[in-house]
C-alpha cells in the first residue's frame, strides 16, 4: 500500500527541545497512532505535518506529493487540535461547513456533505447549537466532522480524548474506528495512552524525547517493546491474542505458548486484552479461586506506592500487579519470589 503521509529525516529544534531525524510512513487509508509521554514531541511532529512551521530539515510527503513548502491551506490535511477549538461565533453547521465555505463549494454540496457527516457522527440534532452549549464528547464529534467535511488526504487528531469524561471515551473510540472504516481517510492520532492506542491503531509509532523509538503493529509494540519503549509504558497489562473458541458467554483467547485466557466478549479473531494491575490478585500458591485466569512468574521489580505496592512479574507473560502493602509483607515477597497472578474473566477488557 502506498504512503498516505510520509515524514522523511525531519529535524527541528526550539532551543530547549528538538525533533531529531524523524522518519515515519503512514499507509494510505490506515489508522496510525503516535504514542508518547507528555513532552515527547508528538504534538510538535503533528504541527510540522499540518504546516504550522517549516522544519529545519526533512520533507513531508502526502499522497506522493512533497508538501514541505506548502502553506497549511494547500496541504489538504485537516487538523483537529487537543481542545477542539471550535469556532465559538458559529453554530455546529457553521463549524462543519467552514472549510467548504473557504473553498467556495456550492451551497447544495455543502448541505449534502454536512448532513452526511452529522448523521454519520450522530450529531444531526445539534446542528443549530453554538459550541458553548455542547458537552466535551459533542465538541469532539463536531471537531471531527469539521475536519472530515473538506475530504482531506489525512486527518490529524491531537489527543482527541483528552477533554472527555471516562464514560464517553469508549464510545468515542468506537465511532473513531467506525468513521475511519467508512471514510477510508488516513488518520494520525496522537495520544499518551497506550490503551487508547491499542484500541484503534493499525500501526503505532512511539516517540520519546523528540525521537521515534519504535514503529510497528500494536501487537509488536505492546508485546515486544524495545527497551526504551518498555521503560515508558510498563504500568499497564496489554496482551495480544486470538479468540479461538467460545464456551457459553466466555471467549477463549490464545495468547501463545499454549496459554489460554478467558474473557467475556463477542469479538472473534485477533484481539488485544487489557487487565488493570489493580484487578490482578497475587498468591504464592496455585490456590483455587473464582478467578479463571492464572499466570505464573517471578517478582522482577517492586515499586513502593505508599499504601500499595506495584510489582512486575516476569514469567509466562509480563504482568503488572498492584497489591496492598500489608499483603506484600504478609506473603513475605521479594525480588525473585515465585508467584501466581490471578484475574477474573470479567476483569479482562477486550480492546
Amino acid at each position: 500500500m502506498s504512503d498516505g503521509v510520509a515524514v522523511q529525516n525531519l529535524s527541528h529544534s526550539w532551543g530547549h527541545f528538538a525533533l531529531t531525524n524523524i522518519n515515519l510512513s503512514v499507509a494510505q487509508g490506515s489508522y496510525f497512532v503516535l504514542l508518547g509521554p507528555t513532552g515527547s514531541g508528538k504534538t510538535l511532529l503533528l504541527e510540522a505535518v499540518v504546516g504550522a512551521y517549516r522544519p529545519r530539515e526533512g520533507n513531508i510527503i502526502v499522497d506522493g506529493e512533497d508538501v514541505s513548502r506548502l502553506p497549511p491551506n494547500k496541504r489538504k490535511i485537516s487538523y483537529a487540535p487537543q481542545n477542539y477549538l471550535l469556532f465559538d461565533n458559529m453554530t455546529v453547521r457553521g463549524n462543519v461547513e467552514f472549510g467548504l465555505h473557504a473553498k467556495g463549494i456550492p451551497e447544495e454540496d455543502r448541505k449534502n456533505r454536512t448532513k452526511h457527516l452529522l448523521d454519520l457522527l450522530g450529531i444531526s440534532h445539534l446542528v443549530n447549537r453554538f459550541p458553548r452549549n455542547l458537552s466535551g464528547g459533542e465538541r469532539q464529534r463536531v471537531s471531527l466532522a469539521r475536519a472530515l467535511a473538506v475530504e482531506p488526504r489525512a486527518v490529524l487528531l491531537d489527543e482527541p480524548l483528552s477533554a472527555v469524561d471516562a464514560a464517553a471515551k469508549s464510545s468515542i473510540l468506537d465511532y473513531l474506528r467506525r468513521v475511519h472504516k467508512e471514510t477510508g481517510v488516513t488518520v494520525i492520532h496522537v495520544t499518551h495512552d497506550q490503551i487508547e492506542a491499542a484500541t484503534v491503531a493499525d500501526r503505532i509509532g512511539v516517540i520519546r524525547n523528540g525521537k521515534m523509538v519504535q514503529v510497528g503493529a500494536p501487537t509488536d509494540v505492546i508485546e515486544k517493546p524495545s527497551t526504551e519503549v518498555e521503560s515508558i509504558f510498563r504500568s499497564e497489562n496489554l496482551i495480544a491474542g486470538n479468540v479461538t473458541r467460545k464456551e457459553a458467554n466466555l471467549a477463549l483467547v490464545d495468547i501463545g505458548g499454549g496459554k489460554i485466557i478467558e474473557a467475556v466478549t463477542d469479538r472473534t479473531g485477533p484481539v488485544m486484552l487489557h487487565i488493570r494491575p489493580e484487578d490482578v490478585v497475587v498468591s504464592k500458591h496455585a490456590v483455587k479461586t473464582s478467578a479463571r485466569n492464572r499466570l505464573w512468574g517471578t517478582v522482577a521489580e517492586v515499586t513502593d506506592l505508599g499504601p500499595t505496592v506495584r510489582m512486575r512479574i516476569s514469567g509466562e507473560r509480563r504482568i503488572m500487579a498492584i497489591i496492598t502493602r500489608r499483603s506484600f509483607f504478609e506473603m513475605q515477597l521479594n525480588i525473585g519470589s515465585e508467584v501466581y497472578a490471578f484475574f477474573k474473566a470479567t476483569s479482562v477488557e477486550v480492546l
Partner: protein
C-alpha cells in the same frame, strides 16, 4: 453591598475608603463643572458658531483619528501579538513613547518632521499639501498621541487567542485573509472597539501637542483654553455682543456630547454582544 462570607470586613472598609478618595477625585470636578455651568450658559454655547465649529471639529477629528488608528493599529497589534521577531520588543516600547512624553514635547517632535520646512512636511508642501494648522495636522497629532491604545488592545487580544485556532482554519483550506476575517476578527472585535473608544476619548481631550502642530482651526480643548485665558470661566457679554460663551459652558457642553457618544458606542457594543450570545 454583598460581602463574601468570612471576608474580613475591616479590610473591605479600608479598601472602600481608599477607593472613595479616588472616586471623589475623578468624579467631583466633572459634577462640579456641570453644576457651575447653567442651562442658559450651555444654550449660549450652543448658539456660538465658534464653539459649535470647535466641538464639531473635535468630534470629527477624533473619529477620524480612531478610524486611522484601527486601520493602521490592527495590523501592527496583530503582528506584535502573533509573531516573535527580532526588534519586536523595541517596536513594542517605541509605540508606548507617545504615552510617556509630555504633550508639548510630542508637539515639538511632530513639528520637527511635519513642519512645512522639515523633512516630511517640506516634501508634501512641494505638492501643495500642508501638514500643520489644518485638519490633517490635527489628525496627525491625535494619531500620534492616541493610536497606541488601539494597538495595545489588539496586541493583548491576539496574545490571549489560541494560535492553533488560526491553524485549524488554515488546515481546512482557508486562506490567511479568509481566516483573519472569519476567525480572528470575531475574536478580537471587542478589543478593537475598546481600543477605538479609548483612542477617540484620548484624542478628543488632547491640547498640548495641538498648540504646536495645529493651533488653528481650534478644536474644543484649544477654544476652551482661549476663552478661559481671555475672559475667565464665565460668559462675557458686552453691549449685547457675546464676547465669550464661557469656558465653563463650552466645557460642560463638550462633556455632554462626549458622554452621549460614549454611551452610544457602549449600547451598540452591548447590542452586538447580545446578538452573538
Amino acid at each position: 453591598m454583598r460581602i463574601s462570607p468570612g471576608f474580613p470586613t475591616r479590610f473591605v472598609f479600608v479598601l472602600s475608603a481608599l477607593s472613595g478618595v479616588l472616586f471623589f477625585l475623578l468624579f467631583s470636578p466633572v459634577v462640579n463643572l456641570i453644576g457651575t455651568s447653567s442651562l442658559a450658559g450651555i444654550v449660549l454655547a450652543m448658539n456660538s458658531s465658534e464653539a459649535v465649529s470647535a466641538i464639531v471639529l473635535t468630534v470629527y477629528a477624533s473619529a477620524l483619528t480612531a478610524l486611522v488608528a484601527v486601520l493602521l493599529g490592527v495590523p501592527l497589534g496583530y503582528l506584535l501579538g502573533k509573531y516573535h521577531f527580532p526588534g519586536r520588543s523595541l517596536i513594542d516600547s517605541v509605540i508606548e513613547i507617545p504615552l510617556m512624553i509630555p504633550h508639548t514635547v510630542a508637539g515639538i517632535a511632530l513639528i520637527t518632521i511635519f513642519g512645512s520646512a522639515q523633512l516630511v512636511g517640506a516634501f508634501f508642501n512641494g505638492y501643495g499639501i500642508k501638514m500643520t494648522n489644518n485638519v490633517l495636522g490635527i489628525v496627525l497629532t491625535l494619531v500620534f498621541v492616541s493610536a497606541t491604545y488601539t494597538v495595545k488592545q489588539v496586541e493583548e487580544a491576539i496574545r490571549s487567542m489560541d494560535p492553533k485556532l488560526e491553524l485549524v482554519s488554515r488546515s481546512l483550506g482557508a486562506s490567511s485573509t479568509f481566516t483573519f476575517v472569519k476567525v480572528t476578527l470575531p475574536h478580537i472585535w471587542r478589543s478593537i472597539v475598546s481600543g477605538a473608544i479609548l483612542t477617540w476619548a484620548r484624542a478628543s481631550s488632547e491640547v498640548g501637542a495641538l498648540f504646536i502642530m495645529a493651533y488653528y482651526p481650534p478644536v474644543a480643548s484649544i477654544l476652551i483654553w482661549n476663552l478661559y485665558a481671555g475672559y475667565g470661566l464665565r460668559e462675557s457679554i458686552s453691549n449685547g455682543v457675546v464676547l465669550s460663551p464661557g469656558a465653563v459652558n463650552v466645557a460642560a457642553l463638550m462633556i455632554f456630547i462626549n458622554l452621549a457618544i460614549f454611551v452610544l458606542f457602549k449600547l451598540i457594543q452591548r447590542k452586538r454582544e447580545k446578538r452573538n450570545e
